[in-house]
C-alpha cells in the first residue's frame, strides 16, 4: 500500500469543526509543514489538542481555532508564545487548560477505548473550576474522590517523524518521541510528515525498528516534507530556529498574523522555505543544547 501523498491532499481530509491532535512539544518536532498547509486552506472552527508551540499560536492567530485543549503553549526559550497570548487575552478562543499528565491520560483513554481514566491530578486546583466538563467520581475501592479524565479522540492526528517508508512505517530518531504515539493511537486518522522517505529495508536493522513507536496500520497518510518541522526542531537532523522564532514573535506582536503570513507563508512549502533562507539553511540549524 502506498500512503505517500502531497501535504495539501493529506490535510484536505480536515473539515470545519473537526478536532485535531498535534504531536511534538513546544518548539520541538512540530508538523509545521502540515500546519502551514492548514493555514493556506479555508478550514475553520477547529478544536486543537497539543503540547503547544507555534503550531497552536499560528492556528489561533489565523482564526482557525474554536477551542484549544492544552497544558501549556510555549516556545521554551521564549516562554510565552506571542500569538497564543494575544488570542487568550482577547478572549477569542475557548479553552480546556489541563495538566500535562492529564492530557497524556486523556489521549491514552482515547487510544484504549476507555471513556475516562481516574486520576488524582487536578484535585484541589483551578483546573477543575475552569474546565466544568471534568467530573469527579467515586472509587469502588477507596473513600477518596477522583478526577475522571475524559478520553480525547482527535478526528485527525498530525505528527512529524524523521523517516518513513511509503507504507507508513515511521521512525522517530529524535531523543524523545514525546506523546506522538498516543496522539496517533487516539486519532481516527493520522497524517505523518517526514524529513526522509526510505525503502522498507531501512527498518530491517533492529536498532531502527526500535525507533518505530506505532504500527503502520495506525498511519493513513505519509507526506514527504524535508525541513518540514521548521521553525521547530527535528533532532537529530536540525535544531529549532531561534532567530526565526524571534522574528516570528516581532511580526506577530507588531503586525499580527498577516504580517507573518505576508513575509513567510507563501503558496507552498517551496516558497515558505525560500522565504526563511532555504532548505539547506534549515538542515544546518544546530541542535539545541539544554
Amino acid at each position: 500500500m502506498d500512503k505517500l501523498v502531497s501535504a495539501s491532499a493529506a490535510v484536505s481530509v480536515i473539515e470545519d469543526g473537526m478536532t485535531i491532535g498535534i504531536g511534538g512539544w513546544g518548539p520541538r518536532r512540530k508538523p509545521m509543514a502540515l500546519i502551514r498547509e492548514l493555514l493556506r486552506s479555508p478550514v475553520k472552527d477547529l478544536t486543537v489538542i497539543a503540547y503547544g508551540g507555534a503550531d497552536v499560536g499560528l492556528l489561533c492567530a489565523a482564526g482557525k481555532v474554536r477551542k484549544v485543549i492544552y497544558a501549556f503553549v510555549s516556545l521554551d526559550f521564549m516562554p510565552l508564545e506571542p500569538a497564543f497570548r494575544k488570542a487568550r487575552e482577547s478572549g477569542a478562543i475557548e479553552v480546556m487548560e489541563i495538566d500535562e499528565g492529564m492530557l497524556l491520560l486523556g489521549l491514552r483513554a482515547g487510544a484504549w477505548g476507555c471513556p475516562f481514566i481516574p486520576t488524582r491530578i487536578g484535585l484541589g486546583t483551578d483546573v477543575l473550576k475552569n474546565a466544568p466538563d471534568l467530573t469527579l467520581v467515586d472509587s469502588p475501592y477507596d473513600e477518596k474522590e477522583w478526577v475522571a479524565m475524559p478520553a480525547l479522540t482527535p478526528d485527525v492526528a498530525l505528527v512529524h517523524a524523521t523517516r518513513a517508508d511509503a507504507r507508513g512505517v515511521c521512525e522517530i530518531a529524535s531523543p524523545d518521541h514525546y506523546m506522538d504515539d498516543l496522539f496517533v493511537r487516539a486519532a481516527k486518522h493520522t497524517i505523518v510528515a517526514v524529513d526522509e522517505v526510505v525503502p522498507s529495508q531501512h527498518f530491517h536493522d533492529p536498532e531502527i525498528a526500535r525507533r518505530v513507536f506505532w504500527e503502520r496500520n495506525c498511519t493513513q497518510a505519509v507526506v514527504h516534507a524535508p525541513g518540514g518541522a521548521h521553525p521547530s526542531s527535528s533532532d537529530p537532523l536540525y535544531g529549532f530556529d531561534v532567530e526565526h522564532f524571534k522574528r516570528y514573535g516581532e511580526l506577530l506582536n507588531e503586525g499580527g498574523y498577516s504580517a507573518w503570513a505576508d513575509a513567510f507563508l507563501g503558496d507552498s512549502e517551496v516558497s515558505y522555505q525560500s522565504a526563511v533562507g532555504g532548505l539547506e539553511a534549515i538542515q544546518s540549524l544546530p541542535l539545541p543544547v539544554y
Binding site: W25, Y70, A71, F72, V73, S74, P79, L80, F84, R85, R88, E89, S90, G91, E94, V95, E97, I98, D99, E100, G101, M102, L104, T119, R120, I121, G122, L123, G124, T125, D126, V127, N130, D142, E143, K144, E145, P175, D176, H177, Y178, M179, L182, L287, V289, Y290
Partner: protein, 268 residues
C-alpha cells in the same frame, strides 16, 4: 571568599535536597537547576536528574558552556511520557519559580488577572503543576520577594495544591501534601508554622524580618530559632564555578547583588 546573592540563594536551595535520598530532582530555571546540581555533586550524590531532554544523568551537566549532549553521563532513557510514571510514584522533588504564591503554599504560572475566558496576562498554562503538587514534594525559588509574588488573597489561578482546608479533596489531609521550602532573595521559608502557616526560618545576611513581612501580602509565622542563612562554603563556590563555567548565574538577578548586603556607608 566573596559571594553573590544568587550564589547564596543557590546554596540555600541546594540544602533542600540534602536528606532527600534517591529522588528525581527537577530544578526549573538556571538557578534552581544549579541548586539541584550542586546538591547532586556534594551533599546528595544519590539524586537523579535529567538532561532536560530525554536521559537521566549520573552526573549533572554544566548549566552553561555545554556544546553538545554527546558524552554526557547517561544513566537511562526517560522521555517526557515516562517522566510522569516517575512523578506519580512520588519519588520526585521539584524546585520551581512560580509567578504567584499564596498563604496556603498554592502557586500560579498560568495567567494573571481578568477572567478565565480572557485573562489580563496569559502566562504558561498550568503545565505539570497540578500533578506535581498532588504527587510529590515541591519547593519554590523566588528571585524577587514582593507582594506581587506573595499575594494577599488566593493566587489568580491555583495551579498547585497547598495547605488549604477549603480546597482539600475528599479523603485527603495535609499529610498528603508536601510543599516544602521557599527560597527568596530575602530569606528561607517553610510551612511549619501553626496549621502549616508559612514561616520564616532564616534571613539572608543584612535582611530584617520587617522587610520580609512588608514584602509579603499575608502574615508570616517566625521560627523560634530564626537564624541567618548559612553562607556558601569555599567548596560550594568552587563547585558552582565548575557547574556554571560561564558564570550565567551572575546574570539571573538584577544587578547581581553581593551576598552580604552592602550598607549605604560601605557603598560610598
Amino acid at each position: 571568599m566573596q559571594f553573590t546573592l544568587a550564589e547564596l540563594m543557590v546554596c540555600a536551595a541546594s540544602r533542600i535536597f540534602d536528606d532527600e535520598g534517591e529522588v528525581l530532582v527537577t530544578g526549573i530555571g538556571l538557578l534552581p537547576r544549579l541548586a539541584a546540581s550542586l546538591a547532586m555533586r556534594s551533599s546528595n550524590p544519590d539524586l537523579l536528574m535529567t538532561d532536560s531532554q530525554s536521559y537521566v544523568l549520573s552526573q549533572p551537566n554544566a548549566v552553561s558552556g555545554l556544546k553538545s549532549h554527546e558524552g554526557q553521563a547517561n544513566e537511562n532513557w526517560m522521555g517526557f511520557a515516562r517522566i510522569f510514571d516517575n512523578v506519580w510514584s512520588g519519588r520526585r522533588h521539584a524546585l520551581v519559580g512560580p509567578s504567584q504564591i499564596d498563604r496556603f503554599g498554592q502557586s500560579n504560572i498560568s495567567a494573571l488577572g481578568g477572567t478565565h475566558q480572557a485573562p489580563k496576562v496569559q502566562l504558561l498554562g498550568v503545565r505539570g503543576f497540578p500533578g506535581n503538587s498532588i504527587s510529590h514534594a515541591n519547593s519554590f525559588f523566588v528571585p524577587s520577594h514582593s507582594r506581587r509574588v506573595f499575594v494577599e488573597g488566593e493566587c489568580d489561578v491555583v495551579c498547585s495544591v497547598g495547605y488549604n482546608n477549603g480546597r482539600l479533596p475528599r479523603g485527603y489531609s495535609f499529610s498528603d501534601i508536601d510543599v516544602r521550602t521557599v527560597v527568596t532573595n530575602l530569606c528561607v521559608l517553610d510551612f511549619n508554622g501553626p496549621n502549616k502557616q508559612m514561616r520564616v526560618v532564616t534571613l539572608h545576611p543584612g535582611v530584617g524580618l520587617d522587610e520580609v513581612q512588608d514584602n509579603t501580602g499575608f502574615e508570616l509565622a517566625v521560627a523560634n530559632d530564626i537564624g541567618e542563612t548559612t553562607m556558601p562554603s569555599d567548596e560550594q563556590l568552587d563547585l558552582l564555578s565548575q557547574l556554571d563555567p560561564l558564570n550565567a548565574r551572575a546574570r539571573q538577578l538584577k544587578n547581581n547583588p553581593a551576598g552580604i548586603r552592602q550598607t549605604e556607608e560601605t557603598q560610598s
